[in-house]
C-alpha cells in the first residue's frame, strides 16, 4: 500500500534516491553579487518587486487623500487642527533612529560583529515598539476627544492611513524578531542577503512614515 498519494512521491517511486552524479554534473547557479560588487541588490531582486509595489500603493493612498482634501478643504483643515503635530514628529524621529540602528546592524553583521549586530537590531525593535505605543496612545486620545473614523472623511483617512502603516510596523516587528533569532544561531550561507532584506523592509516602513507625517499632519490650507 502506498503511504502517500502518488503525486506526492518523487518520480521513480519512494525507493529512488536523488542521483548524486547527475546532481554534481548539473551546472551550479552563479552566486549573487555581494555588497560593493557590481549589480548588487540588497536582499534579493524579487523583494524589491514587493517593496516598490508597496510604496506605490501608499503613493496612491497619499494622492487619494489629497484629492479628497481638495474636495472639502474646510473640513480637512478644521480636522487637521485636532491632530497633535508634535506627536507625529516624535514618531518620525523614533523611526529614523530605528532605521539608523538597523543600518548600523547590517554593517556590523558584514564586519562579523554578530553580538553588536544583535544589540542594534534589538534597539531598533525597541524603537519600533515605542512607535507603536505612541501611536496607540495617540489614537486613544483622539477617540476620547470624540474623533472617530466616521466623524468625517479626514479622520477616516487618518485612521485608515496610520492603521495600514501600523500594520506594516507590526509586520516589521515580526521581521526584526526573525532577524534577531537568526543572529542567535550559527551563521549560515546566504545570511547576508536575508539580513539586507529584513533591513530594507524596515527602512521602507520608516520612509513611508516620513512622507505620511507631513501629508497627514502638516498639509495646511
Amino acid at each position: 500500500m502506498r503511504p502517500f498519494p502518488i503525486f506526492l512521491e518523487p518520480p521513480g517511486g519512494t525507493t529512488a534516491a536523488p542521483s548524486g552524479a547527475a546532481a554534481a554534473a548539473a551546472q551550479p547557479t552563479a552566486p549573487r553579487p555581494r555588497a560593493g560588487q557590481r549589480g548588487w541588490v540588497p536582499g534579493e531582486p524579487g523583494l524589491w518587486v514587493f517593496l516598490l509595489g508597496d510604496m506605490t500603493m501608499f503613493g496612491v493612498f497619499f494622492v487619494a487623500f489629497l484629492v479628497q482634501r481638495g474636495e472639502d478643504p474646510a473640513t480637512f483643515a478644521h480636522s487637521r487642527e485636532a491632530l497633535t503635530v508634535a506627536v507625529g514628529a516624535i514618531n518620525t524621529v523614533v523611526l529614523l533612529t530605528s532605521s539608523l540602528l538597523v543600518a548600523l546592524a547590517v554593517r556590523a553583521h558584514r564586519d562579523g560583529a554578530r553580538e553588536r549586530s544583535r544589540g542594534l537590531v534589538a534597539g531598533a525593535a525597541a524603537c519600533g515598539a515605542l512607535f507603536a505605543v505612541i501611536k496607540v496612545a495617540e489614537w486613544a486620545t483622539k477617540l476620547a476627544d470624540g474623533h472617530h473614523p466616521d466623524s468625517d472623511l479626514f479622520f477616516t483617512y487618518y485612521y485608515l492611513l496610520t492603521g495600514v502603516h501600523f500594520l506594516h510596523v507590526l509586520i516589521g516587528g515580526c521581521v526584526l524578531t526573525f532577524w534577531l533569532r537568526r543572529l542567535g544561531r550559527a551563521p549560515r550561507a546566504g545570511e547576508e542577503r536575508v539580513v539586507e532584506g529584513c533591513a530594507s523592509y524596515w527602512h521602507m516602513v520608516d520612509l513611508l512614515w516620513v512622507v505620511l507625517f507631513p501629508v497627514l499632519y502638516l498639509s495646511a490650507t
Binding site: V63, A89, R107, L218, A220
Partner: protein, 91 residues
C-alpha cells in the same frame, strides 16, 4: 574604513532629524499666513521626499546598488513626489 562609513550613516541621521524639526516648525500654522502657508507646505512635502531619498541611498545603501534598482527608487521619489505636491496645489 568601516568606522568612517558608520559615522556617515550617523551624519545622515542627524541631518534627517534636523530636517524633521525644520518641517515641524514650518508646518505649524503659527505666524504663517495666506500664500506663505501653501509655500511652507510645499517646502515641507519636498523636504519629506528629499529625506526619503537619503533613507534610500544611505540607509538602504541603494547608492551602491545595481543601477536599475536605484533608478526605480529615484523614479518613485520623482513621480510620487510630483503627484503629492501637484495634488496638494491643484486639488
Amino acid at each position: 574604513m568601516t568606522s568612517l562609513l558608520r559615522s556617515r550613516v550617523v551624519l545622515v541621521w542627524l541631518l534627517l532629524v534636523a530636517a524633521t524639526v525644520v518641517s515641524l516648525a514650518l508646518g505649524s500654522s503659527h505666524g504663517v499666513e495666506g500664500d506663505a502657508v501653501e509655500a511652507a507646505t510645499v517646502a515641507v512635502l519636498a523636504v519629506a521626499f528629499v529625506k526619503v531619498r537619503y533613507v534610500g541611498l544611505e540607509f538602504m545603501e541603494l547608492r551602491h546598488a545595481a543601477p536599475p534598482l536605484r533608478i526605480a527608487f529615484e523614479a518613485w521619489i520623482a513621480l510620487v513626489g510630483a503627484a503629492v505636491v501637484g495634488t496638494y496645489l491643484l486639488a
